[in-house]
Symmetry: C2
Subunit: 213 residues, 2 copies
């Protein structure tokens, strides 16, 4: 697995196995540390400000305990017709959510924050992606709700699992829908020189020599 | 892993590990059979017709040998400024491709075909997705080209691997970019009753009872 040269420790402040998998797939080396505190935000905030605020709180809560590390926090919500869809609490709730999303386009908002307590440097932002579901039949809804997949996910679906069949198209960042906008996060880590892309690091390249001009 | 009730054998006629992973993640049970013949299409066809033709040829070549099976074929190309980008043949070719894609939006076309020789039933179509790269620096291009990832992929990148950092947004089907439009393929398999979504199959549901109304 190809790796970057990393100049500081990186921590993912999230319990989500999907966010961990995204950063692993991108080749990053990091630890996972999360607080058991449940953060809350003012529900009168607009969706982008809401997820950004929660991402900041999650990152800051871990950053003060690991001041030398760069800590990544994130929060994801699903918004349909102006209404936030949380994680479904029952099979009925999951089926109801899936029925409201069927054949329509909703929005997924993911806020992210990256901060370092020692240097007091940080960034945070929110990314929005439109997700269009195919029209779902009753058996499709009942089947998907009978799998374990909807129950720990805002909006009652996973775009990257069995739920792949639900999603006809998206408009925006795919990794925002999974739970962490990888392009934006990596861009910050590169620009802050927290990670460095050096082609002469000892991975197995397809050609023997490599160079940076 | 949740499964569907399947009423006929399904074959994926592709050597692509990415297509195999997409169908596995969607919960499908299938075999992989591919012909070693290299199919070719008239390069004067438009991109959608081109990939659709090749997908049909790949599926048909396997379907005649397994007439009872439903055979899925697919072909993916990357088109930038009206020019088809193939798999890069060298590090220089990969770097040149990545440089032409940097900071711009290109199109990925995936054709798919599903056919059954015994019933003479079939479907084929093509899906197009716009993919927008972030502006890439020379070190980013040199680093990515020094990994093994670009070399077996049209357009010299993988949206789902280390290359996740390249892609800022997409407009269309994500799985089309990976190599097989899962929503469309599953939709056909469900409508043709090749697979059946029955909520009473013996997986572990989150609540004890389930029903289809």
């Amino acid at each position: 697995m190809a790796r970057y040269v990393q100049h500081a420790p990186i921590i993912l402040a999230s319990r989500s196995p999907r966010r961990k998998a995204l950063l692993q797939q991108a080749g990053l080396t990091f630890s996972v540390v999360f607080s058991s505190d449940e953060e809350s935000a003012d529900s009168r905030l607009d969706p982008a400000a809401y997820v950004r605020f929660l991402a900041e709180k999650k990152a800051e809560g871990v950053a003060i305990r690991y001041p030398e590390s760069w800590v990544i926090g994130a929060d994801t919500i699903v918004v349909n017709d102006g209404k936030i869809l949380e994680k479904p609490v029952s099979k009925d709730a999951a089926e109801t959510m899936l029925r409201t999303l069927s054949g329509k386009t909703h929005s997924v908002f993911t806020g992210y924050a990256i901060c370092n307590a020692a240097s007091k440097r940080s960034v945070s932002d929110a990314v929005q992606t439109g997700v269009t579901f195919k029209p779902l039949t009753d058996p499709e809804i009942a089947w998907y709700a009978s799998t374990p997949e909807p129950y720990d996910k805002a909006g009652a679906y996973a775009i990257q699992g069995l739920g792949t069949f639900l999603v006809k198209r998206i408009n925006g960042s795919y990794t925002c829908v999974v739970g962490l906008p990888v392009c934006e996060v990596m861009d910050f880590l590169i620009k802050e020189k927290i990670i460095e892309m050096a082609a002469d690091t000892p991975w197995t390249p397809p050609t023997p020599q490599s160079s940076i001009n």
